[in-house]
């Protein structure tokens, strides 16, 4: 395998957008190509993440239309990736694999989503389509519901009073909104308090409104190329040191949903390939679709022991300057979660951090970054380790 690098990574602001998905991705894709000093004709393939285009805009098969709008050569194929919330990370991993294998030299990968044009109940219905359609979705489970059940199971398993766990979960939201307030691309750019979280409406017991990430629109694109080409394009190439991806079935098969076994499996592959361990990571963007999800993730990724990560934000272990800086972009929680674009935006944040370009939320001297994206109810997990 050839060494693979990221030459450029960009994202739109996340939030509510008037523009179509096609326009959003085309703009950010061209921005990425322009910033690299390249032309659309230089791109050899487009890997486009998108989940809900069929529901939000009546658009399936979005990739060739984006391809055309961007002016990519007919000989450079475009294809859509879909792995629920892990979509863009999976697109990026596949681009990196093919560049590594020598099939392509330059691939544009990323994703786009529009969710704010769906009503809350339709958005909730379409998100729930990523649960098992025969054995789980028909009982009315929602994504907040999945993580709500994980929170109750966590409290029971580790014998933590629910009221205590909820305060520590709220601290995760406080941290991620704090970093969101320093990110001009974030959906939410204002700080919140523990009390704000604990006084929100109940979405799925015990998750309240601010325990949940928002529905967002947005797009993000990443230029993946060889080490040699990246060095010509930029003074600060970022290298892909290790990757992993794993799959699991429905919750009825996973059973213990506090463990996130697919994440343990995927991250183990990534750590092994990169030859590094969790304690080497300076900065990590992980899948905090809900506050409890961040707690489960920091344990499964090996930053904290099982049952010991719940108070990490409260103890400031996951702030900049703590044990490991987690979700300095604001995470899905504050930066927003346009599902098909999320993974590429996580990569964008790590690229900025490793280039020392993250401004007010810079982790000083960050050299090794970790990307963790989870699709569906722990069914897909994709991890990428990046180095300066």
């Amino acid at each position: 395998m050839r060494k693979v690098a990221i030459a450029e990574a960009c994202m739109t602001r996340f939030g509510k957008h008037e523009k179509t998905s096609l326009e959003l991705f085309t703009e950010i894709g061209l921005t990425t190509i322009n910033r690299a000093g390249l032309y659309p004709r230089d791109i050899q393939a487009l890997f486009l993440g998108n989940c809900l285009g069929g529901f939000g805009e009546g658009q399936a098969h979005m990739a060739p239309f984006v391809h055309s709008a961007m002016g990519l050569p007919m000989s450079s194929p475009a294809m859509r990736f879909e792995c629920a919330c892990a979509t863009a990370t999976v697109a990026i991993r596949n681009a990196a694999l093919l560049v590594g294998a020598g099939v392509y030299d330059i691939v544009l990968a990323g994703g786009v989503e529009k969710t704010t044009n769906l009503s809350t109940s339709l958005a909730t219905r379409t998100f729930a389509m990523a649960s098992h359609a025969q054995y789980e979705t028909p009982v009315g489970i929602t994504f907040p519901g999945v993580f709500a059940m994980a929170a109750h199971m966590y409290a029971d398993k580790y014998n933590i009073p629910l009221i205590e766990l909820k305060k520590h979960m709220a601290e995760v939201a406080v941290k991620n909104h704090y970093y969101g307030s320093k990110n001009l691309k974030a959906h939410f750019q204002k700080e919140i308090t523990v009390n704000d979280v604990l006084s929100g409406i109940m979405v799925a017991d015990p998750l309240q409104l601010l325990d949940c990430c928002p529905f967002s629109d947005g797009a993000s694109a990443v230029l993946i190329t060889t080490e040699e080409k990246a060095k010509k394009i930029t003074k600060k190439p970022i290298y892909i040191a290790g990757m992993g991806q794993a799959s699991a079935g429905g919750l009825y098969v996973q059973q213990d949903i506090t463990k996130a076994m697919a994440r343990k499996t995927a991250s183990k592959q990534a750590y092994l390939e990169a030859g590094i361990k969790p304690s080497d990571i300076d900065v990590c963007e992980l899948h905090d679709c809900f506050t409890i999800a961040e707690i489960i993730a920091i344990e499964a990724l090996g930053f904290f022991k099982a049952g010991k990560g719940y108070d990490a934000a409260t103890k400031r272990h996951t702030y900049i300057g703590g044990k490991v800086a987690i979700n300095t972009s604001g995470g899905l929680k504050a930066k927003g979660h346009p599902i098909g674009a999320t993974g590429a935006a996580q990569v964008t944040e790590i690229v900025e951090q490793l280039r020392d370009e993250a401004g007010k939320r810079q982790v000083e001297g960050a050299k090794i970054g970790f990307v963790d994206t989870m699709g569906g109810d722990f069914g897909t997990v994709c991890n990428i380790i990046l180095t300066a």
């Binding site: 199971m153 998750l207 079935g249």
Partner: protein
């Protein structure tokens, strides 16, 4: 490879209130709901069995913001059957607002109800859990 218990057959068994499951010939683990291979060892050799309709609540939530087609609030739970398999379904017969952590570990009887399909799905029989009073 022909399935030992199709989704349709499993649906029929739920409708008749008799739970069918698959016991692995290799490792004896039960796979319920059915799928082509053992959830534990991957073997394709099963014996179809009728299983007990008793279980224990492992976790739950009260859905208060629901997807199109559902009327909140209602309780969703994961229940461990006697044979070690987990089912997702609805706890019925108690007020959603009364649901709390004390539900976890409680015994339930497993029955089934028909959930109406919508634009994207057909009618489906799903598990419901009734508390067994002691």
């Amino acid at each position: 490879m022909e399935s030992k218990l199709t989704f349709k057959q499993y649906q029929n068994s739920l409708q008749e209130n008799r739970f069918l499951g698959l016991e692995c010939k290799n490792c004896r683990v039960y796979t319920i709901p059915p799928q082509a291979v053992c959830r534990s060892c991957g073997s394709q050799e099963f014996i179809q069995r009728q299983v007990s309709n008793k279980g224990i609540i492992k976790t739950f939530t009260v859905i208060r913001i629901a997807a199109d087609g559902f009327k909140p609030p209602f309780i969703v739970a994961m229940v461990e059957m006697g044979q070690g398999a987990y089912l997702m379904g609805n706890i019925v017969g108690i007020e959603p607002d009364s649901a709390n952590m004390e539900l976890i570990g409680k015994k339930v009887e497993i029955k089934a109800k028909l959930v109406k399909g919508d634009l994207y799905s057909k009618d489906i029989w799903t598990p419901v859990f009734e508390m067994i009073s002691v």
